[in-house]
């Protein structure tokens, strides 16, 4: 802060002293006029001129210094600032002009004229110089190397122009040079007014405010110059004191204001900003297109590489970066996309940047406008390996979505303060698009994988449907089966098989759900089929089946099963329950429903020593009108809104009510009741409902 103040006064004080000395000299010269040609002290004319030029040059340097130091303001704020400044200048000038007319006496009138002239000189000098440097901020809305060069050259011309106005250089050659300098300054002015870029970024309201402010500014400039011209141009010979030395600045301020109004008012395509927008659109299009390009002929890594290449090319194009690279990983190995930089340099840069990231853990990106000032990011002896390129600006950004980081983009420039806020926002958006494209590509691949899996599941489902035999027609029985899988594949199984002497009815449920259950269900089918032909007793059947099942199933899976064997001749039924929900038996003669739940244990729960005693056989006789209801736990465990289970008792009650109906009607009626009970349209579990009625 102290250093700033000290430097500030280094420019301000001398310029003020120059002005004061100038004022004193002119006052004493006026006094000479009044004293009829007798000077107090003779001062040559060129001293005046030198002082004036020194005043201007020091003011220029002061403005230059202040602008460099100042925090960046928004465009409209800049315009407010300069209009307010100009307005104040006008007021001060008008104030002194009025004072001059109040004091009519010769002596004082001349004194006030001199004072007025010099105040006008001071304000005009500061106003136009400040105006120029504030406009500089607008010009460097987008910094490019060419613009920096153009501005520096323009500044040099202003200074030279000032220097050549000291009169003892007055000769035809010097005059010609002045004209050349003026024309050159005009060329630079036109170059800059044709690169008005800030206008394109303004909102409608900001645009209107800017136009109003610029119009006011133009009026201020015109009034100011004509005001000073009228006053002094006629009265004094040395008109150059006011207008000519600052002519390039005056022209620049006026033309820049006029062009800005035109650009804002008619949205004239004056600048490369439209090219930038076009570049941005093209890049986004290319990135998005890469997702579908060539479909899946190349893997996701190649896609990532391609997206990063597009991202780097376009980021460099719109930011005019000297070099750039993207670092990313493939299977934990570092990969690079490099432009105009060696891998070793990029690696060196990354190591340095990583140190910086550690202090900026929450940040997504950072920009350093002057690498030399930030010792943390200073790479020692880097110029030895960069072929003499000195990197002065650096921008680093993570390419990431909310869920994942994909890589890091780094852009490097060989000049200071290279990245403007608008370019930065374009790069931010490109990075975001790239990350989204990579993520979408992943999702796209997943969806294709999912479609393949679904195709495979469909094959499995078709296979499972063939395992579950269609409900057969068995003589003297009316049979109906309702079955549903919660997933594509289910673990419920049923089989009705008629041999010469026996009808086998099997209903089973494999523990768990989905694919694993479906596979074990297929295993069960494989184990069951040969046993039907062996004419085994119910106990032998279940013990042998358990033995076979234990070889197929892992220990954390089991199967529950109900097995009913009906002798076709005698209609004697033998029922064995292996851990399955009970069998419901409606006896037509007594009109009673029995819940048959003899002792039994699930299959695969005991590997060795499964004894006959573990299963109780329940035998009964079937008569005409008797009805049997087999079901899986998907039915009995249905819950209602109060989280109460349906249970076997309520199911048996409904079964008793509907048992006079046909098998299909019984199933439908029970299902309707279940839906009403659960207050849902669908049961979210595997279920099987099998009804057999003796005809």
């Amino acid at each position: 802060m102290l250093r700033f103040v000290r430097k500030y006064y280094l420019y301000f004080l001398p310029s003020l002293i120059c002005w004061l000395v100038l004022l004193t000299i002119q006052l004493q010269q006026s006094l000479f006029d009044l004293n009829k040609g007798k000077y107090f002290l003779f001062i040559p004319q060129y001293v005046n001129q030198i002082l004036l030029i020194a005043f201007y040059i020091l003011s220029l340097e002061l403005a230059n210094f202040i602008v460099k130091k100042e925090n960046k303001l928004s465009t409209v704020e800049v315009l407010w600032q300069i209009t307010a400044f100009g307005g104040t200048g006008i007021l001060i000038s008008v104030f002194f002009h009025c004072i001059q007319h109040i004091y009519i006496a010769n002596y004082s009138s001349l004194f006030w004229q001199i004072l007025d002239k010099n105040i006008g000189l001071l304000v005009a000098g500061y106003f136009f110089i400040a105006l120029t440097f504030v406009f500089r901020q607008l010009i460097f809305f987008r910094t490019t190397k060419r613009k920096i060069r153009a501005w520096n050259f323009f500044y040099l011309i202003i200074v030279l122009h000032l220097l050549f106005f000291v009169s003892f250089y007055d000769s035809p050659w010097i005059n010609a040079l002045k004209i050349i300098l003026f024309i050159m300054s005009l060329l630079f002015i036109f170059y800059m007014v044709f690169h008005i870029e800030w206008g394109a970024y303004l909102k409608v309201q900001e645009k209107l405010v800017s136009i109003v402010l610029l119009v006011v500014l133009c009026i201020v400039i015109i009034t100011y110059s004509s005001f000073i011209n009228n006053k002094y141009f006629n009265n004094f010979d040395h008109y150059w004191e006011f207008q000519f030395p600052l002519l390039p600045i005056y022209m620049f301020a006026f033309l820049y204001s006029i062009f800005s109004i035109l650009v804002l008012g008619f949205s004239l395509p004056t600048s490369s900003i439209y090219e930038l927008r076009e570049l941005e659109n093209k890049a986004i299009y290319a990135i998005n297109r890469s997702i579908l390009k060539d479909k899946l002929n190349y893997d996701s890594h190649q896609h990532k590489h391609q997206v990063f290449q597009i991202l780097l090319d376009n980021s460099m194009k719109c930011s005019s970066a000297k070099s750039g690279f993207i670092k990313f990983y493939k299977n934990n190995q570092v990969q690079w996309v490099l432009t105009n930089i060696k891998e070793t340099v990029a690696q060196l840069m990354c190591d340095t940047i990583n140190r910086y990231w550690k202090f900026q853990s929450n940040k997504k990106e950072f920009f350093v406008g002057d690498l030399n000032r930030l010792s943390l990011l200073k790479v020692k002896n880097i110029q030895e390996i960069t072929n003499g390129i000195e990197y002065l600006s650096l921008f680093a950004i993570h390419i990431q979505t909310e869920s994942q980081k994909y890589g890091q983009l780094v852009l490097l420039w060989d000049y200071r303060n290279a990245l403007e806020i608008e370019i930065k926002s374009v790069i931010l958006m490109l990075c975001e698009q790239a990350a989204i494209a990579i993520e979408n590509r992943g999702l796209f691949e997943n969806s294709i994988e999912l479609a393949r899996s679904q195709q495979k599941l469909k094959i499995a489902k078709d296979f499972q449907d063939t395992i579950l035999s269609a409900c057969p027609n068995v003589n003297s029985f009316d049979i109906h089966v309702s079955i549903q899988e919660a997933d594509v594949l289910g673990g419920d199984y049923y089989e009705i098989l008629e041999t010469e002497s026996t009808i086998y009815v099997v209903i089973a449920d494999v523990s768990g759900k989905g694919i694993s259950s479906a596979f074990y269900m297929a295993e069960l089918k494989g184990c069951l089929q040969p046993m039907f032909a062996l004419s085994l007793s119910p106990h032998e059947f279940i013990i042998n089946l358990n033995h076979a099942i234990t070889r197929c199933l892992p220990p954390n899976h089991f199967i529950t099963m109900n097995l009913l064997m009906i002798d076709k001749k005698t209609m004697e039924a033998n029922f064995i329950r292996a851990g399955h929900p009970p069998l419901l038996f409606y006896e037509a003669a007594s009109k009673q429903t029995h819940i048959l739940q003899p002792l039994g244990i699930g299959l695969n729960l005991i590997k060795k020593g499964l004894f006959k005693e573990r299963f109780h056989l329940h035998s009964f006789h079937l008569n005409k009108g008797d009805t049997l209801l087999f079901y899986t736990d998907g039915i009995s465990e249905v819950r209602n809104d109060k989280n109460e289970e349906l249970g076997n008792e309520l199911l048996a009650e409904w079964f008793g009510i509907f048992s006079e109906l046909s098998a299909a009607e019984i199933n439908y009626s029970i299902m309707e009741q279940i839906m009403a009970f659960s207050n849902q349209q669908k049961i979210n579990d595997d279920y099987t409902l099998l009804t057999m009625k003796v005809l």
């Binding site: 759900k513 929900p581 244990i601």
Partner: protein, 114 residues
Amino acid sequence: MKLSIQVIEEETYVSLNLKGEIDASSSIHVQETLQELLENGKKHIHVNCEELDYISSAGLGAFMALAEEIQSSNGNIVFSNMKPKILNVFQLLGLDQIMNIVENSQQVVTFFQK
């Protein structure tokens, strides 16, 4: 409702307090916990079902897979304080025939003393 498992080391056995519901996804945690206990040489395990509201077939499978292993290494697993609904599931499946089920925690102590 999720399942919470609390492991309490008693003098001669380890108690597993189950709270909530054991379905296909939470059964994995039960299996992992039991496996860990076995690996640490805890062979006498008490499963307290006092606050267990539901157990699916996959949940039962998790116990079955390790019950055999526990018994073959001369250990014991005992279930206690079952709600009628849970006990009914065990009985329906026939697990009451092969598993040790006691009514309350006092009986667990007696069980392991034997």
